[in-house]
């Protein structure tokens, strides 16, 4: 066994056999922000055979406080995160095969990315994509590990198809309008804690030590010193459309997807949630007022101008993003504000 893995091999629950298994496994990491870079670095150092890293964004200065694979050079060059992550990971462990994709992950992409993968790590920043990951994971019988964090708070849950409840059992509907790292901030230790929970579970899955999985939903606030762990086994719902007895994988259907359209000639992109909603414009206005930018409000909409972009939020849920004509850039801006 190679010296570089010796301390991990000495750890009984991994051992030589576990190390060999790690080398044969393929993990797909969706998102290369804070959670994505943390997960990717640990799994690459652990000697996982193949990593696929997918992200639609590029590195910015405000990422450097917590997105551990990136440097000032990456931010200055506005390097796509997937590429900057791959470059760094190749230096960390050249024996790991890294596939990097600059990609906005849609249903179609997710179904393709899932092929031949042993585990999916959620390192995304929104629930639209998490519900797609959840359905694809159920459809192709692939474990996935949810992670989320904002402020000093984080949580994680491991979804094993056929065993645990899925995200749809736990939440039933896509939560909209939650706090995000861009609206209320996030500290790096909470990122690292979520990454630790995710990667510990990942290693157990990859060495096939199924009985050691945590099984509980875990959450913590590192500033308020709270730690909560609750058993959710009984939330597994046999009627769940994603993982129940007769699954229909609702989030893979067109109707359930967030719709986007480039408005030709207007240098704008429209984003429309799958269901009509009554957006709470008062709450949104409060959030936006804490941001750097100009907020305008009338009874029908809130408008937020920041740099080259202007976002207009309508009461029915639609958002127009002016100053962009690229859908993935528009989605990225949108999810930074509304989660």
């Amino acid at each position: 066994m190679q010296e570089r893995y010796s301390r991990q091999v000495l750890f009984d629950s991994i051992g030589e056999k576990g190390q060999e298994k790690l080398g044969q496994k393929h993990v797909c990491i969706i998102g290369a922000g804070a959670l994505g870079t943390g997960n990717a670095e640990i799994l690459a150092r652990a000697g996982v055979g193949r990593l696929t890293i997918v992200d639609r964004d590029y590195v910015e200065e405000s990422n450097l406080q917590r997105q551990q694979l990136y440097t000032e050079k990456d931010a200055k060059a506005r390097m796509p995160k997937a590429i900057a992550a791959k470059d760094r990971l190749n230096q960390v462990n050249s024996s790991v095969t890294i596939h990097a994709e600059i990609q906005d992950v849609t249903v179609e992409e997710m179904e393709r990315l899932a092929q031949g993968v042993d585990l999916i790590i959620d390192a995304t920043d929104n629930f639209d994509i998490r519900f797609i990951i959840n359905d694809v994971a159920q459809k192709f019988n692939i474990p996935w590990i949810y992670g989320g964090c904002v402020s000093s708070y984080g949580l994680s849950f491991t979804v094993i198809p056929g065993e645990t409840p899925c995200l749809n059992c736990l939440l039933q509907t896509v939560p909209l309008g939650g706090a995000t790292c861009d609206t209320i901030g996030v500290i790096a230790p909470v990122v690292q804690m979520v990454v630790s929970y995710q990667t510990a579970e990942a290693l157990k899955i990859l060495v096939e030590d199924w009985s050691s999985l945590r099984k509980k939903l875990v959450s913590f606030d590192l500033w308020d010193n709270e730690h909560v762990s609750i058993g959710v086994e009984r939330m597994k719902n046999s009627d769940c459309p994603s993982c129940g007895d007769h699954p229909t994988y609702p989030y893979l259907s067109y109707e359930q997807q967030t719709k986007t359209a480039v408005l030709c000639g207007r240098d704008a992109v429209q984003i429309r949630p799958p269901k009509k909603m009554a957006r709470d414009l008062d709450a949104l206005e409060r959030i936006l007022e804490s941001q750097n930018g100009e907020v305008n409000r009338n009874p029908f909409l809130v408008s937020f101008a920041n740099g080259d972009h202007r976002m207009v939020f309508f009461k029915d849920g639609r958002v127009l993003i002016h100053g962009v004509n690229d859908i993935s850039e528009a989605k990225s801006l949108y999810h930074k504000i509304v989660g």
Binding site: C149, T180, C181, H227, V228, I230, H335, G339
Partner: protein
Amino acid sequence: MIVHINGDQRELSSQLQTVFDLVNDYNLSEKNVIVELNGRIIEASKHRDTPIQEGDRVELVQFVGGG
């Protein structure tokens, strides 16, 4: 009324009578929170009908999107 929330002892105002009231008081929505009351998960649809009582142990887990 004294209850334990996420492991900490808290004094609740007497206006908070149900799980729904408590979730609201924490500025959470039943759409993105999982509530465990004395070791039992309380489904979102039952939050309004489930009273909070002296000495209860409540765990609140909020789902957040950031990452």
